[in-house]
């Protein structure tokens, strides 16, 4: 039956005519499919990725020093031994009462250097594990002391050795250096 818009609306015409209704639905479906297919093409981009990972273990180990401090013939024999796993730098400071400072005589074996600015004796070589510094000898000069002690019968002289060490660090080019702000310190009387 042909649609006469003067007699009935399009909606009523479609309601009565099942075949035309089905055809229109099918056409609409085809249209939707076409649009969807185009949309999918427009949204696709070529992408890819690759990834990898890895890890490395740092071995800080531990550092350990043993300070040898023996006295013979009015002389302190100071040496620092590295008994740890890591190499380190060592330095010592010798402390004594102000009035006796001039009575001390230092004999530095190879590697020791006095830094006047801070009063430390620096051992300027890297101390590898199981290595020991050469000796730093601190002698109490009795001849200079005798005049001072005549007035007193007995006097105890305390010479305190403060050993310090720090792990060996490396700069960006692989050159070793010491950062004394990371100092590990002890005290030996």
């Amino acid at each position: 039956m042909k649609w006469d818009k003067r007699k009935k609306s399009l909606w009523n015409y479609l309601k009565e005519n099942r075949q035309i209704r089905q055809s229109l639905l099918l056409a609409a479906f085809a249209l939707v499919l076409t649009v969807c297919a185009s949309a999918k093409t427009a949204m696709a981009y070529f992408t890819t990725y690759a990834s990898a990972g890895g890890r490395a273990q740092i071995s800080l180990g531990f550092t350990r020093t043993e300070t040898e401090d023996t006295v013979s013939d009015w002389t302190k024999h100071i040496a620092v031994a590295n008994s740890g796993e890591q190499e380190c730098y060592a330095r010592v400071k010798v402390l004594v009462g102000e009035q006796y400072k001039d009575s001390l005589l230092y004999t530095a074996e190879d590697g020791w250097r006095l830094e006047d600015t801070d009063g430390y004796w620096y051992y300027n070589k890297i101390l590898a594990p199981q290595e020991k510094t050469s000796e730093l000898l601190v002698k109490l000069e009795r001849s200079m002391l005798s005049g001072m002690t005549q007035a007193e019968e007995q006097k105890v002289f305390n010479v305190i050795v403060v050993p310090e060490y720090t792990a060996v660090l490396y700069d960006e080019d692989g050159n070793p250096y010491a950062d004394w702000s990371l100092t590990v310190a002890g005290e030996v009387e």
Partner: protein, 251 residues
């Protein structure tokens, strides 16, 4: 006669639907034919994209789209040869060679970016979030086409974009050259003092001894055609692309 005309409408509409369907199908078929014909004529897969992560000049991981699948893929490991120069020991403070670059192993030009993740794991392999990842110092290259996206980067993650088009078969300059553990790793230390005959024994144990420094690198690639839209879609990032193809991160 009139009855026949009336029956013709549904048939015509149905026919139209079929024609529409066919046209869409034919369109796709034509596109596919063109696509495959070009591939055949040039003996390359024109539309294939591929990317390779390169470490110290060696290919590590790659993922290339060839012949309709991703079977041309492989994944390796970073940092394998890192400690060779120091006899297997990772020494804080020292620069180790860690040159990372990206190679276009596909058949179309692409834009690439790299995301570096750095982190710490304790001696048991558990992630430690208290130790700063910034102690793992990546020596990033400067002025060779790589830029860091500061907004998207964190101490743990660094996002770097290569600002130029990466042509087929070409490699980017290295985005980083070195890797270094900052000496501040020595800061956390416990001391133990023991008197010994004629002296004292001092033992310093470092808290982070045995920790693992972990590095991951992810490289992403995207087509240059409709590059701005492709990057936005794939990476969610707004960029500006100049006429010469140079990419700039949008503010």
């Amino acid at each position: 006669m009139r009855t026949k005309k009336r029956a013709l409408w549904p048939v015509l509409l149905l026919g139209l639907s079929v024609v529409l369907l066919l046209l869409s199908a034919v369109g796709s078929a034509r596109a596919a034919l063109t696509y495959y014909s070009e591939n055949y004529a040039m003996e390359v897969t024109v539309s294939s994209i591929g990317v390779t992560l390169v470490e110290n000049g060696e290919d590590v991981s790659y993922r290339n789209y060839i012949e309709d699948d991703w079977s041309d893929s492989g994944s390796g490991e970073l940092l394998l040869g890192l400690l060779e120069e120091t006899n297997g020991k990772l020494i804080p403070g020292r620069n180790y060679q860690e040159a990372i670059a990206v190679k276009n192993s596909g058949a179309i030009d692409s834009y690439v970016r790299v995301i570096l993740y750095r982190s710490w794991q304790d001696a048991k392999g558990e992630k430690d979030t208290e130790l700063s990842p910034e102690l793992i110092d990546m020596g990033l290259s400067d002025g060779n086409g790589w830029v860091i996206d500061a907004k998207a980067s964190t101490p743990e993650r660094m996002v770097l974009y290569y600002t130029k088009v990466l042509p087929v078969g070409a490699s980017t300059p290295t985005l980083c050259e070195t890797l270094r553990i900052h000496p501040d790793i020595f800061q956390k230390v416990t001391e133990e003092r023991t008197p010994v005959e004629g002296g004292e024994k001092i033992t310093a144990t470092y808290q982070y001894d045995g920790y693992f420094m972990s590095l991951e690198a992810e490289v992403d690639a995207v087509q240059t055609h409709s590059g701005r839209e492709a990057i936005k879609s794939a990476w969610g990032v707004d960029v500006v692309i100049a006429e010469d193809g140079t990419l700039t991160l949008a503010q």
